[in-house]
C-alpha cells in the first residue's frame, strides 16, 4: 500500500473520518433538551447539542479545506502513485480547488446551522453528520473521472441533502420540498446513469478518458463506436447534470426545495451541490466529450445547447426573481440565474483556455457571496419572526443597521457591483466569453445583470427606504455567534476576492482544465 495514495485522498478521507466521529459523538452523546415539535415529547440522540456538533463539523470541514491547501502547496503531481486511483478518483489541482471550495461552503453552512437550528427548535443532531457526509460525496464527485464513481458520489451527496431538506418533519412544505427533490433528483440521477450505460455500450469504457478516446475514433474505418448512441448519451448526461446545477428548464424543483428547506440546507444546496455538479460537468464535457466535433459551434456539439441553457437560465430566472414576494424564493431564483452565468463560462471553455478557470473562480465568488446572503437572511429573523417576505425586512436599516449592512453587502456582491468578489467572478466569465468570440452571450449576460441588480436592489429599498406598515409582522434579528462568525468570514473573503483578486485568480487559472 503506497502511503502517497492515502496522502493524495487525505482531504476526502479526513472529512469522512471526521464525519464518522461526529456521528458517534451524536449517537452516544447525552441529549440535552427534548424536541417538542408537535406530537409527544421525544428525546432524539444528539438533540440540543447543536453548539458542539456545529463546531465539530465546522472544524472537520475547515480542516479538510486546509489539507487541500497543503496538498496544493506540495503539488499533487509530485506524489507518485497518485494515478493508481485514477480514473475513479483523480487527484489534480482541479480536484483540490473544488475540495477546498466545497469544504469552505460546507463549513460555512454548518456554522449557519449552528445558529439557525437551535433558534428555530430544529435542534436535532443528525443534521451535522449528514452535512459532512454529503460534503464527502461532493468532494468525491469533483474528483471522479469515471461514471461508476461519479454515480456513487452523486448519490452520496444527494441522499444527505434529501434528509437535510426534510429536517422540519412536521412541516408540510418541508416534506413537499424533500419529496419533490428526492423524486426529481432520483430521476435525474437515473438519466445520468442511463447515459453512462449507453456510453459504455458504445465505447466499452466507463472512464471519461476512455470514452473520449473512443469518441475520437468515430469516422475512422476501424471504428465500432456508434455516433447516434453517443449523442443520445450526451443529451442524457447533460439533462441529469443540468438538473443538479438547476439550469432552466430543469429548475422546476429549485424554488420549492430551496424555500421549504431550513435555510442552512438551502445554503448548502446553493453552494456545495451546485459547485460539485459544475466540477463534474466541466470534467465530463472537457475530457469525455472534448472531441473537436462535439465542442464545435453548430452541428453536433454541446456548446450551442449549453449556450441556450445559459441564456434561458439567466433570463427566465432573473425575470421571475423580480416578481417574487419571498426573499428566500428570490434568492433561489437568483441561484438559478447564477448557474446561467457560470454556464457561459462552461460554453467559453470550448475554445478559450480561460473558460474553465473562469467557472472555477465564479463558483468561488458565488459561494462566499451566497453563504453571506443566506447567512444575513438567517441573522435577520428569529423564531416566530423569521424574515421571509420583503415586507418583513421593511425599515430594517433603521432598526438594525448592522444586519442590514451585512445583507446589502452580500447582495451587492451577488449583483456584481465592484469592488466585491461577485463583480470579479462575472468579469472573468464574461472576458472568457469574449475570448471565445461569444459576444452575443456577453451582451445578454450583462443585460441580465441589470435585471438581477434590480431585484437585489429591491431588498435594499425595503430595508433602507421603506417603513413597515403599522401592525405588520417585522423581522427581529437573532443573536448567534455562529452566524456572525460565518458572515464575518464570508464578508472578509468577499472583500478580499474583490479588492485583491490577483492571488486567487492565479490559483483558479492554475486549477483549470483544458479540453482535448
Amino acid at each position: 500500500m503506497n502511503f502517497n495514495v492515502l496522502l493524495a485522498v487525505s482531504p476526502i478521507l479526513a472529512v469522512a473520518i471526521g464525519g464518522l466521529l461526529l456521528m458517534l459523538a451524536e449517537a452516544f452523546g447525552k441529549p440535552m433538551a427534548a424536541v417538542t415539535e408537535g406530537g409527544p415529547v421525544t428525546t432524539d440522540a444528539g438533540a440540543g447539542r447543536s453548539d458542539e456538533l456545529a463546531l465539530g463539523s465546522a472544524v472537520v470541514l475547515f480542516a479538510g479545506a486546509l489539507i487541500s491547501v497543503a496538498l496544493w502547496k506540495v503539488g499533487p503531481d509530485k506524489l507518485d502513485g497518485v494515478t493508481s486511483l485514477a480514473p475513479y478518483l483523480i487527484i489534480d489541482r482541479f480536484t483540490l480547488f473544488f475540495c477546498f471550495l466545497l469544504c469552505l461552503g460546507g463549513g460555512l453552512a454548518s456554522l449557519l446551522a449552528g445558529g439557525y437550528l437551535p433558534e428555530h427548535k430544529l435542534d436535532r443532531g443528525e443534521f451535522f453528520p449528514l452535512l459532512v457526509f454529503s460534503t464527502v460525496g461532493a468532494m468525491a464527485l469533483a474528483a471522479s473521472g469515471d461514471f461508476l464513481s461519479f454515480f456513487v458520489a452523486l448519490e452520496t451527496m444527494s441522499l444527505g441533502v434529501y434528509c437535510m431538506i426534510g429536517l422540519r418533519r412536521g412541516n408540510v412544505r418541508a416534506s413537499e420540498a424533500s419529496l419533490k427533490y428526492f423524486l426529481l433528483g432520483s430521476f435525474a440521477a437515473a438519466l445520468t446513469l442511463f447515459g453512462g450505460a449507453l456510453l459504455y455500450g458504445a465505447t466499452g469504457h466507463t472512464d471519461f478518458q476512455g470514452i473520449g478516446e473512443g469518441i475520437a475514433t468515430i469516422g475512422k474505418a476501424s471504428s465500432t463506436v456508434s455516433a447516434p448512441l453517443v449523442l443520445v448519451a450526451l443529451a442524457l448526461v447533460l439533462a441529469g447534470l443540468a438538473f443538479k446545477i438547476s439550469a432552466v428548464p430543469f429548475h422546476m424543483w429549485t424554488p420549492d426545495a430551496y424555500e421549504g428547506a431550513p435555510t442552512p440546507t438551502t445554503t448548502y444546496m446553493a453552494v456545495a451541490v451546485k459547485s460539485a455538479a459544475f466540477a463534474v460537468l466541466l470534467r465530463v464535457l472537457l475530457i469525455g466529450f472534448g472531441d473537436a466535433r462535439l465542442t464545435s459551434w453548430g452541428g453536433t456539439g454541446w456548446p450551442p445547447v449549453l449556450a441556450c441553457l445559459a441564456v434561458l437560465s439567466m433570463t427566465v430566472a432573473n425575470v421571475i426573481a423580480g416578481r417574487q414576494e419571498s426573499v428566500k424564493r428570490m434568492l433561489a431564483y437568483s441561484s438559478i440565474a447564477h448557474a446561467g452565468y457560470a454556464l457561459v463560462g462552461v460554453v467559453a471553455a470550448m475554445k478559450s483556455p480561460q473558460g474553465a478557470p473562469s467557472v472555477l473562480f465564479y463558483m468561488l465568488t458565488y459561494t462566499v457571496s451566497t453563504v453571506g446572503a443566506f447567512g444575513a437572511l438567517i441573522l435577520c429573523g428569529r423564531r416566530g419572526a423569521e424574515a421571509v417576505s420583503y415586507e418583513d425586512l421593511a425599515g430594517l436599516g433603521k432598526r438594525h443597521p448592522a444586519a442590514a449592512l451585512a445583507f446589502s453587502f452580500f447582495l451587492l456582491s451577488l449583483a456584481g457591483v465592484p469592488p466585491t468578489a461577485g463583480f470579479f467572478g462575472k468579469l472573468y466569465v464574461f472576458s472568457a466569453a469574449v475570448d471565445s468570440g461569444l459576444n452575443v452571450l456577453l451582451v445578454i449576460g450583462l443585460l441580465n445583470s441589470v435585471i438581477g441588480a434590480y431585484y437585489y436592489l429591491r431588498v435594499m429599498v425595503y430595508m433602507y427606504m421603506k417603513e413597515p406598515e403599522p401592525g405588520a409582522p417585522i423581522a427581529t434579528p437573532m443573536r448567534s455567534g455562529f452566524v456572525v462568525a460565518a458572515i464575518l468570514l464570508a464578508a472578509v473573503l468577499v472583500l478580499a476576492f474583490g479588492v485583491l483578486p490577483s492571488t486567487s485568480l492565479d490559483i483558479a487559472a492554475a486549477a483549470g482544465l483544458t479540453h482535448g
Binding site: 464574461f430 450583462l446 436592489l457
Partner: protein, 613 residues
C-alpha cells in the same frame, strides 16, 4: 539601515495591527484581547500576501508628489468606512468628522494647482493591481480633469453643509453616502485604467441611490429605481465594449491591459467600432443626460434632497461629459467624428431647444432647474462635438459654470423649500418684498445661468458658439447649428426670467408668504463661494483657461490621430494596433510583462497557456 532596524520596520504593520486589535475592544479579558490581536495581525498578513508585487514607474515630473491623487481619492473612502464605526447617537461628531474629511480633501486637492498643467499627465501614479488581467492602479490628471476635481472638492462640502442644515434624520447614513460618493467621483475623474474607472463609476451609484431613496420626496423609491436602471444599463453596455477592446488589444499585442494609454492604439474594424462606440456613448449620454435619455434626471432631482441635487448637478453630470472627452473621443475618435454632426443636432434640438421649452412650462421650480440642466449640458455636449480648440475649452469651462450656477440654483430653491415645503411657482409671488437679500442672490445666479456678460455663463457659451461656427467636424451644418444654439441662449432667458418674475415680483398675494424669513447666515455662507466664482470665472476666465488649454489640445490631437487611424484602416476585417507615438502623452504606457525579466512568472504563464490535465 542595519538588519535589526529593517526587521523591525517590516514587522511594524503586524505589531501595530496586534496592538490596535488588542487595545480597542472594551470589556474583554486578556485571552480574548490576545486572540483579537492575533486575528488582526493575521488579517494584515492576508492582505499583504494577496497584494501583488508592485513596480512603480519613475516619474519625469519629479517635483509632483505622486501620491497626491491617491490621497484625494482614498481619504474620503477611508473616511466613509471610519464613519461607520462612529456612534449613531451623536450627530454632531458625525457631521464634524465628515466636514473635517471633506475640508481636508479640498485642501489637499489645492495641491493640484501647483502644477501648470502642461501637456501630458500629471501626478501620475502606477502600481500593479491584477497582473493576470493587465489591470493596474493608474491615476493621473490633465488640464481637463483637474478642474473637475477642484469643482467637486468645492461643491461637495457645500452640498454636505446644506444637507446637514435641512436633513435631521439618519445623519450617519448621510455622512457615509457623502464621503463614499465624493471618493468615488474623484476616483472616476483620475483613473486612466478603464477597469479602475469602471469600478469607481459603479461605486458612486450606490451612495447616490441611497441619497435619493432615503431622504427623497414622496416618489423617492420610484426615482431611485429609475436612476439605477438607467445608469446600470448604460454601464453594462460600456463594460461589454471595454471587454471587447481589451480582448482585441490582448490578441494584437500578446499581453492583456486595461490601460487607457494602451487601448487607444486599438483600431477596430468599422462595425465593431460603431458597436463599441454605442456602448460607451450610451453610458455617458445617460449620465450627461442627452435627449432622449434624460427622463431620469427630473425625477431624480425633484425627489433628491437639496444636497443630493447639488452633487448630482454639479459633479455627477460632468462625469458623463468627461467620459465622452476621455473615452469616446480618445478611444474611438473615428466614429465619434463621423457621428458628431448628427449628435450635435440631437444636442441642440433635444437638449438646448427642447430642454429649454420644457423648462419653460414647468410649475415646480426644481423641475425647471433640472430641465435647464438638460439644456446647459446640451451646450457642453455641443462644444465637445464641435471639436475645435475654442469650443472644447468653452465646453470644459461650461462644465464648471454649470456646476457653479446650477449648484447655486438648487441651493437657493432648497432655501425656499425648507421654509414653505413647496416649490410650486403659483404658490409664490412678490417674495422680493419679504426676502430682499435672497431675491438679489437668486437674480445674480439667474444671470449667470442665462449667460449675461460679466458672469461665468457668458464666457463658456460664447466660446462654444464661436467654436461651433468654425467647426470642421460638423461640416456644412456648423453655421446653422451655431445659430440655433444662440437661439437657445435666448430661450434660457425666457424661462429663467419668467420664473424670477412670477416668484419674486408682482403683488405679494399669498398670505402664507407674508412672514417668510430672509436667507440666514448658514445658507449665505453656503452660497457665497459659488456666487464669488460666478464673477471670478466671468471676469478672469484666463485663470482657468490657461490650465485647460494644454489638456484640451492634447485631447484634440488624440482625437485627430484616432480618426486618422480609423480612416486609414478602411474596410479592414480585423482590428489593428496603431503605432506608438511616444512623448509625454504616452508616459506610463503598460509594457509587455516579459520585457523586464525574460521568463514570465509561472502563474502568468499558466494563465496564458492554460494547464494541461
Amino acid at each position: 539601515m542595519n538588519p535589526l532596524a529593517q526587521a523591525l520596520f517590516q514587522l511594524a504593520p503586524y505589531v501595530l495591527a496586534f496592538v490596535v486589535g488588542a487595545l480597542i475592544p472594551r470589556r474583554q479579558g486578556k485571552p480574548e484581547r490576545f486572540a483579537i490581536g492575533i486575528v488582526a495581525a493575521l488579517s494584515v498578513l492576508l492582505v499583504k500576501s494577496l497584494w501583488p508585487s508592485s513596480a512603480a514607474v519613475a516619474d519625469e515630473n519629479a517635483h509632483e508628489w505622486p501620491y497626491l491623487l491617491s490621497v484625494i481619492v482614498f481619504l474620503p473612502i477611508l473616511g466613509a468606512i471610519f464613519v461607520l464605526f462612529l456612534p449613531r447617537q451623536s450627530p454632531v461628531i458625525l457631521k464634524r468628522v465628515t466636514f473635517l474629511i471633506l475640508g481636508l480633501d479640498g485642501l489637499v486637492s489645492l495641491g493640484l494647482l501647483s502644477s501648470p498643467m502642461t501637456r501630458g499627465w500629471h501626478f501620475q501614479q502606477i502600481t500593479e493591481w491584477i497582473p493576470m488581467f493587465g489591470i493596474r492602479y493608474h491615476v493621473a490628471v490633465d488640464g481637463v480633469s483637474m478642474w473637475l476635481i477642484l469643482l467637486s472638492t468645492l461643491t461637495t462640502p457645500i452640498a454636505a453643509y446644506v444637507a446637514f442644515g435641512s436633513l435631521k434624520t439618519r445623519i450617519k447614513d448621510l455622512c457615509f453616502a457623502f464621503l463614499l460618493l465624493h471618493g468615488a467621483m474623484m476616483g472616476a475623474f483620475v483613473s486612466l485604467d478603464l477597469f479602475l474607472f469602471f469600478v469607481f463609476w459603479e461605486l458612486l451609484l450606490i451612495p447616490m441611490i441611497v441619497m435619493i431613496g432615503v431622504w427623497g420626496g414622496v416618489e423617492k423609491v420610484k426615482a431611485a429605481y429609475k436612476f439605477f436602471i438607467y445608469t446600470m444599463v448604460g454601464s453594462m453596455l460600456m463594460l461589454a465594449a471595454i471587454l471587447y477592446l481589451v480582448w482585441n488589444f490582448t490578441k494584437l499585442s500578446g499581453y492583456p491591459s486595461f490601460d487607457y494609454l494602451a487601448l487607444q492604439h486599438v483600431v477596430l474594424p468599422h462595425t465593431a467600432a460603431w458597436l463599441c462606440f454605442i456602448g460607451f456613448f450610451l453610458a455617458f449620454a445617460i449620465k450627461v443626460p442627452m435627449f432622449p435619455f434624460h427622463t431620469w434626471l427630473p425625477d431624480a432631482h425633484v425627489q433628491a434632497p437639496t444636497g443630493g441635487s447639488i452633487i448630482l448637478a454639479a459633479v455627477l453630470l460632468k462625469l458623463g461629459a468627461y467620459g465622452y472627452i476621455r473615452y469616446c473621443m480618445g478611444l474611438l475618435g473615428g466614429v465619434a467624428w463621423a457621428a458628431a454632426a448628427t449628435l450635435a443636432g440631437v444636442a441642440i434640438g433635444g437638449g438646448i431647444v427642447y430642454g429649454a421649452l420644457v423648462a419653460w412650462k414647468q410649475d415646480d421650480v426644481k423641475r425647471l432647474v433640472a430641465y435647464s440642466s438638460v439644456a446647459h449640458m446640451g451646450f457642453v455636449m455641443l462644444g465637445l462635438l464641435a471639436g475645435t480648440q475654442a469650443a472644447m475649452e468653452g465646453a470644459v469651462l461650461q462644465m464648471l459654470n454649470h456646476g457653479v450656477s446650477t449648484g447655486a440654483l438648487f441651493l437657493l430653491v432648497g432655501v425656499i423649500y425648507d421654509r414653505r415645503h413647496t416649490r410650486l411657482v403659483r404658490e409664490f409671488g412678490g417674495i422680493a418684498k419679504v426676502m430682499p437679500i435672497y431675491a438679489a442672490l437668486f437674480v445674480i445666479v439667474t444671470m449667470s445661468s442665462i449667460g449675461v456678460p460679466g458672469t461665468n455663463g457668458f464666457v463658456g457659451e460664447f466660446m462654444i458658439v464661436m467654436g461651433t461656427f468654425v467647426s470642421q467636424t460638423l461640416g456644412g451644418q456648423a453655421k446653422l447649428q451655431a445659430g440655433l444654439a444662440s437661439a437657445g441662449v435666448i430661450l434660457a432667458a425666457v424661462y429663467m426670467l419668467s420664473v424670477v418674475q412670477r416668484v419674486f415680483f408682482g403683488p405679494l398675494s399669498n398670505p402664507k408668504n407674508k412672514h417668510l424669513k430672509d436667507i440666514n447666515v448658514r445658507e449665505t455662507i453656503a452660497v457665497a463661494p459659488l456666487i464669488a466664482l460666478v464673477f471670478v470665472i466671468g471676469l478672469f476666465p484666463n485663470l482657468f483657461l490657461s490650465r485647460i488649454s494644454d489638456g484640451v489640445s492634447a485631447v484634440l490631437e488624440r482625437y485627430t490621430d484616432s480618426r486618422k487611424a480609423y480612416m486609414d484602416s478602411g474596410d479592414a476585417e480585423v482590428a489593428t494596433l496603431a503605432p506608438r507615438q511616444g512623448g509625454p502623452l504616452e508616459h506610463g504606457y503598460p509594457e509587455a510583462p516579459g520585457k523586464k525579466t525574460d521568463t514570465p512568472a509561472p502563474a502568468q504563464a499558466q494563465a496564458l497557456n492554460g494547464v494541461a490535465q
